[in-house]
């Protein structure tokens, strides 16, 4: 027994699509622009490409995965969820993605429409809040990489699979080393939570004193 790891920063789930959406994808419908400073092209995030009718099948499947993640991984009480941003990434040789997270979003995902085994994995990073005190660094003192103490975890970017994760998790990928391009579709989703039940309202901590509701900007 190696102890109980507590309070994970987040959860990553990999979904394999039942249909090869890669075979249905037709890039001619989408406009992509070169990403500043990288050998990478991207569609505008706010175009919400997953709403395009050519991607209806993928959109419906992603929604079932979001339901599954909310119900079975986060055990969340919610009324609805919706994808508020989605965009295409086309990475060429040398294209990379620096460490970032997705603000103004609750769940995120990336579906790999075209990918090769030698493409770099998606790496998640444990980040520290700005230090407020001097601290003792343990990073260099481990004899082995271990899930209890690692600060980086990599997930393969297999074609026709999707990674779903909490939007606050920091992630990145290294530059692509091969000539074959990688195409992925990324999305951000928001969730509108259930109204409190009568029982909840009696409990101070569940009384929803502070709550927010997000506006779905499309129907």
């Amino acid at each position: 027994m190696t102890g109980v790891p507590i309070f994970p920063t987040g959860i990553i789930r990999t979904y394999k699509s039942p249909t090869k959406f890669s075979e249905e994808f037709d890039p001619k419908y989408f406009k992509i622009e070169k990403y500043d400073g990288s050998n990478k092209y991207r569609s505008e995030k706010f175009n919400n490409v997953i709403m395009h009718e050519s991607l209806n099948g993928l959109h419906e499947w992603v929604k079932t995965c979001i339901d599954d993640y909310l119900v079975n991984e986060l055990y969340m009480k919610y009324d609805e969820h919706f994808i508020n941003e989605s965009w295409l990434n086309v990475n060429l040789k040398g294209g990379n993605q620096p460490i970032h997270s997705h603000p103004n979003s609750i769940l995120s995902g990336v579906y790999y429409l075209k990918s090769e085994e030698d493409h770099p994995p998606l790496e998640f990073h444990k980040t520290r809040p700005s230090d407020q005190h001097p601290f003792i660094s343990l990073s260099e003192q481990y004899e082995k990489i271990h899930p209890n103490t690692t600060t980086k975890v990599a997930f393969p970017c297999e074609q026709d699979s999707m990674l779903v994760f909490q939007s606050q998790l920091y992630h990145s990928h290294a530059p692509i080393q091969i000539d074959e391009q990688r195409i992925s579709l990324s999305w951000n989703a928001l969730v509108n939570f259930q109204l409190p039940s009568e029982t909840d309202s009696k409990n101070f901590y569940n009384s929803y004193t502070y709550r927010i509701k997000f506006v779905k900007e499309y129907n």
């Binding site: 190696t2 109980v4 309070f7 789930r13 979904y15 009480k77 343990l138 481990y142 901590y205």
Partner: protein, 209 residues
């Protein structure tokens, strides 16, 4: 499909002692101080009780567990570790411990020398350091889930010891029963293997040798 929780805040491990150490202890020998406005008594932390002769056997076992935690829970490379502080807590009815963590320490433990099933468990808390407005999800879970919980409680079973990373926040609720709980808590430091002279490193002075 794979689901992987990533980057835990820390690790908690429970050890069961080979014997009841309380049987050979005379608590009247120790000087306790009362916590302000509390029914809780504590020896001075810097006395490092575990270094005293009557704790010799207990110290050997605590150090075995500490070594196991470093070797197997943290997989750490180190030259030595040592207990820098150890103290005894006696909690009467109403005694509680507010949420805190242990500074200037790498790992910590608490051995329950005397405890009842109705004593409050040791609760670990996930702390947040928001620097921007944030979206709260806390109220929207329908079930407790170890992946999303902000509080995890571990029972304070007599003759068990809970070992954890010192930076983890923890505390316990007020005891609601008459029977006292007696525990011995400790902090430990580690001197690491010098692998690379160019790395920034620190070395702690062992004051008990």
């Amino acid at each position: 499909m794979t689901v992987i929780p990533i980057f835990p805040s820390g690790v908690v491990k429970i050890y069961t002692s080979p014997k009841s150490f309380i049987d050979n202890l005379d608590l009247s020998r120790f000087t306790f101080e009362k916590f302000k406005d509390q029914t809780k008594l504590r020896t001075k932390k810097f006395n490092n009780l575990l270094l005293q002769p009557e704790f010799k056997e207990m110290k050997v076992w605590v150090e075995e567990c500490a070594k196991d935690f470093l070797d197997n829970a943290l997989k750490m490379e180190y030259e030595e570790f040592f207990l820098t502080e150890s103290w005894m807590n006696i909690s009467g009815k109403g005694g509680y411990q507010k949420i805190h963590n242990h500074s200037n320490s790498i790992f910590s433990g608490v051995l329950y020398l005397k405890s009842e099933p109705k004593h409050p468990p040791l609760e670990f808390k996930k702390m947040m350091v928001p620097q921007e407005p944030f979206i709260s999800l806390t109220e929207h879970y329908k079930l407790g889930n170890p992946h999303t919980a902000h509080t995890l409680a571990f029972p304070c079973t007599q003759d068990t010891m809970i070992v954890f990373n010192s930076h983890l926040y923890h505390g316990h609720e007020a005891s609601v029963i008459e029977e006292e709980r007696v525990g011995i808590a400790w902090n430990g430091l580690v001197n690491f293997v010098e692998k690379d002279k160019d790395l920034y490193r620190i070395r702690f002075v062992r004051e008990d040798s």
